[in-house]
């Protein structure tokens, strides 16, 4: 019988939640790397027992962990992220040039085919790659060296490269997103990159239609339809039908189109999930009611999913990497909150239940569907 393994990164350690395919009874393991910020934990699609974790700390810097046995045991691997060539500058909060400085790894994206190859999205924004299971990391400098680099600037959470999407139909195509620079795409395996922000409109920057400077929060792609992308921007939920070349808004009837997460049903490429958050100055659900919104039409028409979710006095946030879907026949949806809850729905969002309720603030959620 199939099973699922949910990988949870929190503000004070990692946790692994496992269940059989019914997804009713859960075993909770952890904390792993107790006391550390675990920004992201993700398994290799090519070898589910190979899992990587980004362990960071204001005291001890960046540590990268690797497991070869599905998260039972871990070993530290390489943690040296040295920018390639000249450091260059980006724009600081006060508008002055500021040199790129490595701070932490936000996102790990294992290759679709090789367990030893992983991409890392870091702060200050750059993309790195290992091809030896994490021992050594090398920058793909074409992104940071892109002509607009000096105009990139940090969002409130830092200038982080937080989203990496590998196109299963084209190994040379990768999508990434940076707060607050925007979305970029390479079609040559990371050698060169171009901004893909046409159609984004951000009132909070001097030119709302600028080529770069947009605060993209997250992007999702359905693997069977890699040309279609969905984006949760700072404000606005967006859709592109041409691999990011052009975007249009699909916020439709959402009660607020601010939010962080966005994801897609495993078997229905037009079924989307977001968690509307009140505003950029009030990072919690409207009226204290936690609601996932689902669109079955690729956006614009949304329905609230509330069964099993707290509908009063709930003032948590759901961060950008904290939602995931499994690929069981009845698609499971998972998300974690800054209040330490991890919720699961075994029926595509109709009904929810908490797997755990009192973890440290959840930074990321990934799920592995195991045979």
């Amino acid at each position: 019988m199939s099973s699922v393994r949910v990988l949870v990164g929190t503000h004070k350690g990692a946790f692994i939640l496992t269940s059989d395919g019914k997804r009713k009874n859960w075993k909770v393991s952890g904390p792993f790397f107790a006391g550390f910020d675990i920004y992201h934990v993700k398994g290799s699609p090519a070898d589910p027992n190979r899992i990587y974790a980004s362990q960071t700390s204001g005291w001890f810097g960046q540590i990268l962990q690797r497991s070869n046995d599905g998260g039972q045991t871990w070993e530290p691997v390489g943690n040296k992220f040295a920018y390639e060539g000249e450091t260059h500058t980006h724009q600081w909060y006060d508008g002055t040039p500021h040199p790129w400085e490595f701070k932490r790894v936000w996102h790990l994206e294992p290759s679709l085919t090789d367990p030893d190859t992983v991409y890392a999205g870091i702060e200050d924004a750059a993309i790195f790659r290992t091809i030896d299971g994490g021992l050594n990391w090398a920058e793909l400098p074409g992104l940071r060296g892109h002509g607009t680099g000096p105009r990139w600037q940090p969002g409130a959470g830092g200038m982080c490269l937080h989203t990496i999407i590998l196109d299963p139909s084209d190994p040379n195509r990768i999508f990434i997103a940076i707060s607050a620079a925007g979305a970029f795409r390479t079609d040559d395996g990371g050698l060169t990159w171009k901004p893909i922000n046409k159609g984004l409109r951000s009132q909070y920057i001097p030119d709302p239609n600028a080529e770069v400077g947009h605060c993209v929060h997250h992007i999702a792609m359905h693997p069977q339809r890699p040309g279609v992308l969905f984006m949760q921007k700072h404000w606005d939920v967006m859709r592109s039908n041409d691999a990011g070349d052009n975007w249009h808004e699909v916020s439709g009837n959402l009660p607020t189109d601010f939010g962080f997460v966005i994801d897609i049903h495993a078997h229905e490429p037009e079924t989307l999930y977001v968690v509307p958050i009140k505003s950029d100055s009030e990072h919690y659900p409207i009226d204290g009611a936690l609601q996932v919104y689902r669109s079955r039409s690729g956006g614009n028409e949304w329905e609230a999913l509330t069964t099993g979710l707290p509908q009063q006095n709930c003032y948590v946030n759901v961060l950008r990497d904290a939602m995931a879907v499994d690929s069981l026949d009845q698609c499971g949806i998972y998300f974690g909150t800054t209040g330490g809850q991890v919720y699961a729905s075994a029926d595509a969002g109709d009904n929810w239940m908490p797997i755990v309720e009192n973890l440290p603030a959840v930074l990321s959620v990934e799920v592995q569907t195991l045979p």
């Binding site: 006391g35 550390f36 700390s57 204001g58 005291w59 001890f60 810097g61 960046q62 540590i63 530290p76 943690n79 040296k80 040295a82």
Partner: protein, 103 residues
Amino acid sequence: MTAVSEIRVELPQHLRTLAQTGIEVQLEVAMPITIDAVLDAIEARYPMLRGTIRDHVTHKRRDFLRFFACQQDLSHDPTDTPLPQAIVSGVEPLIILGAIAGG
């Protein structure tokens, strides 16, 4: 033949966990004994600690770590300054301490 000395170093809890050591490690360090020399020896013995005490490239001490020895804070001394004789002789440990900050 290079003269060496056996140095005692106390590590903060999280680094002990990472390196799978006890509270104190003992290292043979070539003279002259400086913070640089001790950290070189630690990182050679425990490669997983590279980058956690000082920056990989610049070797700058991480902001929230401190170097204490013989009831002195040596954190702001040049890292090539010879350490006190009590450290060199192994009577006192070099203490690497996580600052009390944050939550």
